[in-house]
């Protein structure tokens, strides 16, 4: 079963991230690199991407004639997707364990970040055999 693990962060979180110390940033980057490597080696990684800074984010809607209308002004509290992992595991409990690992990624001062990770099931294209 496939799950997506989404790491969300508010604009405030993004702004404080920009002020992390060099060592804290290096520790976090190293953790993520190693985490991705582990997922690959465990044979569970389907895809992972990190996303660009929310300053460039736009919400797009279609106007009546179908042309794009963009809006880029957001409240401080709005959460943005920072990155995601899609994993293929046996059950939800395994997905939660993996989510907890990345939630503990090192934050400022080397402490575990305790970052909230949203875990959602990715729908499959098939239904199991109705027997």
């Amino acid at each position: 079963m496939k799950y997506i693990l989404m790491m969300n962060a508010s604009s405030a979180d993004w702004n404080s991230y920009a002020k992390w110390s060099k060592d804290d940033l290096a520790a976090n980057v190293a953790f993520m690199r190693n985490f991705n490597k582990e997922l690959k080696e465990e044979g569970v990684l389907v895809a992972t991407e990190g996303l660009g800074w929310p300053a460039k984010a736009k919400i797009v809607r279609a106007a009546a004639d179908g042309t794009p209308v963009t809006d880029g002004v957001f409240p401080e509290s709005k959460e943005f997707l920072a990155g995601y992992w899609i994993i293929d595991v046996e059950n939800a409990e395994q997905a939660y364990k993996i989510a907890a690992r990345v939630s503990g990624a090192p934050g400022p001062g080397g402490h575990g970040g305790n970052i909230p990770i949203e875990v959602r099931e990715v729908l499959s294209g098939f239904a199991d055999l109705n027997l």
Binding site: G43, V44, A127, L129, L131
Partner: protein
């Protein structure tokens, strides 16, 4: 550029894969590198045979190429470890003569022994399936990865970890003891069942490839059946697959949407496959050792033999589910038993049985409990509650086509003004 692999060559390679692997393992006694060597030989054959033609002794050709790879591997291992390896030396001296063996009697057992290894209880189901498809099915990693919709590198790791597990648990390449065999056979049949299930798709995109997985499961079940023709449960599983797969063409519409059994165009059902499944089952049942696969196949056969949904022999299906319930603690069986009871004794009886199942923690949050309840409520005329349960089921299902189907059911009833 390589030419596209002809169906003939592809089929031949898949047939030969477990035999070549068995021969290489018996010679070198190491499963993991032997499996890699045979994979490389299969890939070499797939590239060379379309141009050069199929060699006179294709099995010997594969064993010879795999043996060379194996020898290279052992040489490099020895070099790395800075020590001699006698086996490699011996193999280097006489690769051709000894590698090209004629099909021996143990050859056929190899496939079974390999299945027993690949479906070992130490492995997770998904690892066991991946390894079975590669080592016994002769599929390559890219094909398996695309069948399960994961990247090739991920599947490669999964397979290599599975092989590592086999290595560290010290499972020998030999027929398990008689006592152990029955239990291990159950694991093999379960893995084949899961492969079939995985391939029994409704999705529009990768449909063809995933359908291949069902056919691969049928092919492997057929091999196991031919090796142990007297085992009624193996015959039962093969029959179950054939009788279920027979409805494939009718199960979805052109957009990949699910069509439930009672609304399928039964003229699309594959009568030849149904006849084969029924024949297998009719031969297996009188042997007196009736198991869950035979019972499930029997239920599928009753459905398949009804020319129209109204003439389905529900009392017989109910009786079969009652037998199956006594044999297995599977909550899905209990759920289907409730459906059959509703068809025979009316929706009230079915709903009564569902109330009891609600207490089963394995079912309490399962979408199918809501879906069945919705269906029975609808039949009982309680459309308002049916809509609610169709929606609850849609929230819980892990399948997109199924979610679309359930929401459409809810919308249809809600629109009818109830």
């Amino acid at each position: 550029m390589t030419q596209p692999l002809s169906l003939e060559i592809a089929q031949l390679l898949r047939e030969l894969a477990p035999h070549a692997l068995g021969a290489v393992i018996r010679r070198f006694h190491e499963f993991a590198p032997a499996e890699d060597a045979v994979q490389e030989a299969l890939i070499a054959a797939a590239t060379q045979w379309p141009q050069a033609g199929i060699p006179e002794n294709p099995r010997g050709w594969l064993i010879q190429v795999a043996t060379r790879r194996m020898t290279d591997y052992i040489r490099s291992e020895s070099a790395r470890r800075q020590r001699e390896n006698e086996m490699a030396m011996e193999a280097t001296r006489t690769p051709e003569a000894s590698a090209i063996e004629s099909a021996s009697e143990s050859d056929e057992d190899d496939t079974l022994v390999l299945l027993f290894m690949c479906c070992h209880p130490a492995l997770t189901p998904s690892s066991a399936i991946a390894l079975t498809l590669r080592a016994v099915g002769g599929l390559n990693t890219a094909e398996i990865a695309s069948a399960f919709l994961v990247p090739e590198a991920t599947m490669a790791q999964r397979i290599s970890r599975a092989k590592q597990t086999i290595k560290s648990s010290g499972i020998p390449f030999q027929m398990p003891s008689l006592e152990e065999r029955a239990q291990r056979l159950r694991a093999v049949l379960h893995a084949l069942y899961l492969i079939f299930n995985e391939g029994y798709t409704t999705s529009a995109g990768p449909q063809l490839r995933r359908a291949d997985l069902s056919h691969e499961a049928i092919r492997l079940a057929r091999i196991v059946h031919n090796l142990q023709p007297g085992d009624p449960e193996i015959a039962g599983l093969l029959a179950l697959m054939l009788l279920t797969d027979a409805r494939r063409a009718a199960r979805t519409n052109a957009d990949g949407e699910l069509i439930p059994l009672e609304r399928q165009d039964r003229s699309l059902w594959d009568q030849q496959q149904i006849a084969e499944g029924v024949a297998l089952l009719s031969a297996a049942l009188p042997k007196g050792s009736v198991g869950p696969y035979q019972l499930q196949a029997a239920i599928a056969a009753v459905h398949d033999e009804a020319a129209r949904p109204e003439v389905t022999d529900w009392p017989q299906i109910l009786a079969l589910y009652e037998l199956l319930r006594r044999m297995s603690d599977n909550p899905m069986v209990a759920l289907n038993h409730a459906i059959a009871a509703a068809m025979v004794h009316g929706p009230g009886k079915g709903l009564e049985l569902l109330d009891a199942l609600q207490k089963d923690p394995r079912l309490a949050h399962h979408h199918r409990l809501d879906a069945v309840r919705a269906h029975l409520l609808e039949r009982a005329g309680d459309h308002q509650n049916a809509v609610e349960h169709y929606r609850a089921a849609a929230e819980k299902t892990g399948s997109l086509p199924e979610r679309n189907y359930l929401l459409a059911q809810a919308a249809r009833l809600a629109r009818d003004g109830t």
